[in-house]
Symmetry: C2
Subunit: 712 residues, 2 copies
């Protein structure tokens, strides 16, 4: 058991946090323990007793002893304070039981009982009573409506995820946190088959108190935990989640997240079964990317990554060595490597020659990489082992992907011996999982693409450059904030600001905007137009006319004094006819800027993660191409550049007609500026800069809308 956190081994409850006592207890009481092992109360108690070294005390009104252990009628009767209470009594008795736990000095409770917020009004009321106890007493609570938790390092089987008859695996470096107990148990079962070594499985259920983020934050600091897997339906505490992600990145411990409830149908199902509120899946993905969390699409992908991460191996290049006796498998693996951005470098000639000496004569395979030994070598176990070593030891290879048929024998033995002797990551493609391999912990995949997906993740983890900015350490520019607030105050009383005001605010943050002047008369317009290069646009500024085009409140491409004057007069006449009651704050005389293409940028207020900076293609394409880059402020210029480079598979920044280096930097600077604006002036709840016109190395905001919420 680890003691670096000073938690698990400390005997003094007073020095330990309540969540530590809850999850790493030294004494346990079970309220609702039963002699019937077929019931949940009996099942969980049997699990607790079989695994835990310390005292496990049953509480039940019914029996004098439970499964041979003397029982108490109430937790209040316990002679000593206890760290963890496991609660499996009918829902209506739960709030009272928790109050008694608090009164008796229990650290925390795991409430397995269902029938709370997921079960209609009566259940909601009961759950509210639970949260009242938590708020009043400081007792920490996991659940209700969960499957409890498993802490194999501490011998705590406070769950019914596994029957008491199934042998417990030895503790491993992987921690699984799942809102859903049932699916968490499904994953646990699958993980054991796949050779994934779990140390923890915590299900959080309705999350009346402790949620996924809190559990993650607790587990990430524990030495024995090296990999964290999360199955979430909602994220209730985004700041703690991000804090956990930052700490995980700092400690080089990967977090793998599977998020359910992405579609409407699924969100509805999630709400019905754990009373969850579901946020935007796109924003979640973006935040995870920003803070280094691996988001997967399927459960098997989660297990696949957990499996490759658990031995903690890392790489310094993206070069993978493929070894197979089937050329077809080699081709598929090379395909899959390419799809993951991995390289299949040619084995150097001298190394190939050394391998050739091991090959049968004549040899019809290939030793370049993929190394295709052909079926000839399958019957030559010694050569197989030597070639595997040669591929693994190649100076151009940083990861190894062998292929075998799942048949115990000399080939399997060679793979085991090779894996144990190397520190390079190995992803084995095999027709099936094989006990011999999984006991040793060799990451094994039943499909070539899954093997390469796993190696790709190791490369991503090893070679990534995360620049995480600590939000609490971030300092606003007070001078700029003062100016921005002055500007907003001058235009107070309107939630949607005028284009002219919006762009003044953007300009204050250094965002390039069109040259423009707000004027009252035709003469002023002509004077303003003369100072602007090229043709101008005229736009009526009016809080009453957010959609200018339909009222004729816009003129484009005017050149020369006559055109400007005529345009001004005709425009006002048209507006006077079409919108006679509209008040007018002036006419904007605006530079027209060229565009090779258009982008859009803005601030979007996500219900879960708060203000987020969004960048996408602009103009008409904003609807046709829904893909955007999103960043949660604060973030660095480099992070903005990376996000931009990741958009549309990188094609926006590649090739002759995409964004040039200068243009990329200008766009990244706009993203950083919008992030600063969002943090410094939180009353700005929405910004929409559309289009940003891009041409000849320059970018320019041609139109913009700022929306102000309640001023704080």
């Amino acid at each position: 058991m680890s003691d670096t956190t000073g938690k698990a081994t400390s005997g003094h409850q007073s020095t330990r946090s309540a969540i530590d006592r809850l999850l790493s207890p030294q004494s346990i009481v079970m309220i609702g323990a039963s002699n019937k092992v077929a019931n949940i109360g009996g099942h969980v108690f049997a699990n607790l007793v079989r695994a835990f070294d310390g005292p496990v005390t049953p509480v039940t009104p019914r029996d004098e002893a439970v499964q041979g252990v003397a029982a108490y009628k109430s937790v209040l009767d316990l002679p000593d304070p206890v760290d963890l209470a496991v609660v499996a009594v009918p829902a209506r008795h739960v709030p009272g039981a928790l109050q008694e736990c608090a009164d008796r000095g229990v650290g925390g409770a795991a409430v397995i009982t269902a029938g709370f917020a997921e079960a209609g009004e009566e259940g909601i009321a009961l759950q509210n009573q639970m949260t009242d106890v938590v708020a009043r007493t400081g007792l920490r609570v996991i659940g209700p409506n969960c499957m409890g938790f498993m802490n194999l390092w501490g011998g705590v089987m406070a769950n019914f995820a596994l029957p008491p008859t199934v042998p417990l695996p030895p503790p491993g470096p992987v921690a699984l946190v799942s809102q859903s107990g049932g699916f968490g148990s499904y994953i646990t079962t699958k993980a054991m088959l796949a050779g994934l070594k779990l140390g923890w499985f915590v299900s959080t259920g309705n999350e009346s108190d402790v949620n996924i983020a809190a559990v993650l934050r607790y587990l990430v600091d524990r030495d024995e935990t090296k990999v964290l897997m999360v199955f979430a339906e909602t994220l209730r505490d985004p700041d703690v989640f991000i804090d956990a992600a930052c700490r995980a990145a700092e400690l080089d411990k990967p977090i793998v997240l599977l998020k359910a409830g992405r579609s409407d149908a699924a969100a509805k199902a999630a709400m019905s079964h754990t009373a969850s509120i579901v946020g935007s899946a796109d924003v979640l993905d973006a935040v995870c990317r920003q803070y280094g969390v691996f988001v997967v699409s399927t459960m098997e992908e989660m297990l696949d990554l957990g499996t490759i991460f658990q031995d903690g191996r890392r790489v310094t290049s993206r070069g993978v060595g493929i070894m197979t006796s089937s050329g077809g498998a080699g081709v598929l693996l090379a395909d899959a490597a390419s799809a993951q951005g991995l390289e299949v470098p040619e084995i150097p000639t001298d190394e190939q020659e050394a391998m050739m000496a091991l090959m049968p004569e004549p040899f019809y395979g290939s030793l370049t990489n993929p190394v295709d030994t052909t079926a000839q070598v399958v019957a030559m176990p010694e050569s197989f082992a030597k070639v595997l070593h040669a591929v693994g030891e190649s100076r151009v290879v940083d990861m190894v992907a062998p292929v075998i048929w799942a048949v115990p024998g000399p080939q399997t033995d060679s793979v085991i011996e090779f894996y144990q002797g190397t520190d390079k990551p190995v992803a084995l493609t095999s027709t099936a999982w094989l006990d011999e391999l999984q006991v040793v912990g060799i990451p094994t995949y039943t499909d070539p693409h899954r093997a390469m997906h796993a190696l790709g993740a190791v490369a991503d983890l090893s070679l990534r450059t995360l620049e995480i900015v600590d939000r609490s350490a971030w300092q606003p520019n007070q001078e700029r904030v003062t100016k921005a607030r002055e500007l907003l105050n001058r235009h107070a009383g309107h939630r949607s600001l005028l284009e002219s005001t919006s762009k003044e605010l953007l300009a204050l943050y250094g965002i390039p905007v069109t040259q423009e002047v707000l004027v009252e008369s035709p003469d002023e317009a002509v004077g303003a137009a003369e100072k602007i290069d090229g043709p101008v646009a005229l736009k009526v500024m009016s809080y009453d006319l957010p959609h200018k085009t339909e009222y004729g409140a816009i003129r484009l491409g005017l050149r020369g004094a006559d055109a400007v004057r005529t345009g001004f007069e005709e425009m006002l006449a048209e507006v006077a006819t079409k919108a006679p009651d509209a008040a007018r704050q002036g006419v904007l005389v605006q530079q027209m800027v060229p565009a090779r293409f258009e982008l859009t940028a803005g601030i979007h207020d996500d219900p879960v993660f708060g203000p987020t900076v969004v960048l996408g293609l602009g103009g008409i394409l904003i609807e046709i191409l829904s893909e955007t880059a999103m960043l949660r402020p604060p973030f660095t210029f480099q992070t903005a550049q990376q996000a931009l480079a990741g958009l549309l598979g990188g094609r926006l920044v590649e090739g002759g007609r995409g964004l040039s280096d200068t243009e990329q930097q200008a766009v990244a600077a706009i993203m950083v500026a919008l992030g600063e604006l969002a943090l410094e002036v939180p009353e700005v709840t929405e910004v929409d800069v559309n289009p940003i016109r891009v041409a000849d190395g320059a970018v320019c905001a041609a139109d913009a809308l700022v929306v102000v919420g309640q001023q704080s």
Copy 2:
């Protein structure tokens, strides 16, 4: 055994095709049979003998008898003609052995030996000798460098994919065709674990004669074959492949294709191990979509689809009923259903009420769909069975997706009983495969997304509308062909036609082009401009100036006689300076058309599939968005519309700012016209219409380039 093709049961060789005699033989000889079962010659012979009902005769120079069967020294010594010769002698002896087979009236040969085109110059020469024998004699040959084939319906185990000691499974409805023998055997092994019932596995290796397409074309007509799975590295005979796909669509037999060699690294590997030439993966995908072939990305996806297709069940709606005891699994399944375009319809109230009567009291699950029984019901096997029936029989449910833990017992029995009593497709999510389930053939998936992917494919297969046009029945419009050829003849001598000529050709095919007139003088230009609405463009037409902009050979947005005249003169002066030697074919006075956005369309000549019509976003975006719709002519207007609707996830035709109905029809008409042009005038090898300007219900080709190849 099936006899509808009149092949497998016919005793008269003269009435049977050579490929039928090869793959469904009634007598077999093995050249290179050996007494050493560890050798390939002994391994294959043992396999042949154990499975085949008819005579299997060994040929070997070494022994009097092989594995107890009297042997011959040469195939020439055989007393009777034989259908199939299996050849496993050293490469240098193979051409001679094949000649002897032909001389003795053998139908065809499966050559397992390696060391041919994949193995350098000497091997290439040997393979050429083999193809000479084929060309001269009509003997059909599978291989060389393959693993042979397995025809379980005919008892032909002409392969070393399975050891003679592994019991043979009963024949099933799925046929696997794989270029790679090794990976085919890997798939065969995995398929048997997954409960996929194979009837055929044919490996084609170097494809010196019979290739994947030919095998598919043979197997698709066989009654016992209901599903075809293909692992291909290259497609050597696209017309036969398409013919097989058309026949499969006609017979409602799905083909599932896994294509290797998509990336450069993989293509290199493929070329080295079976000497394959690899075509464009994008065109292959498009052709498969057009002809109803399911393209998958991974081997496990191929098996997943094979598994769901093998019971032949179909649906009439996309509604799926999800039943689980884990709410979390339900949410993931609903997510996955949505990702596959499936619906999770709410179970009608009366049906929910009937289910509620089976539930424990209090019940904390949900019966809407996903039906979440919670873990309460796991302990109530009778209720589990009844709810499963109720979900399956719901009038809104056309497919059923239950979830179980892979534990033999009453739940598993219920699933078996339910599956056998319904004709709705069932995709079971289970922690693992289970013999009980796989023997019965219940499609079983270890991940929720894989289960839904399979059901999505069944829905796609059941509900698709394929309008396949038979190329051989397609009739050209002779009058139009004559006019097109006259036009091309008038401009003969240049491979790249002028814009003006290119658009004349397009106009002949009914494609809307800009109004434009080719003129010689400023006066003519002014006269032409007067007849065109709005501003005009001037473009110098010159074979010497394909890139007009850099020579100043273009003027845009000219309004009025003065502007046109001045523009004309200035332009010619600039060209005279910048390209003094350029000959000039005239100046094009061209209408300028508005654009809400731009598309591009064209004809691309694929090295494998020939001329293909391509449609994508135009202008600058053609590079940033590489996604295009591609169709192989001939195709119908409706097929073009479907392809357009499938582009960019459907967003191009949806929402307020995408293509309107009228615009979609106009674009589809352009695609059809380009397809007709490609077929009618094959000397037109490339067409690039870019941009097609789209606005206000109209589309118009604003620029175009036609390239003419060698005239036939």
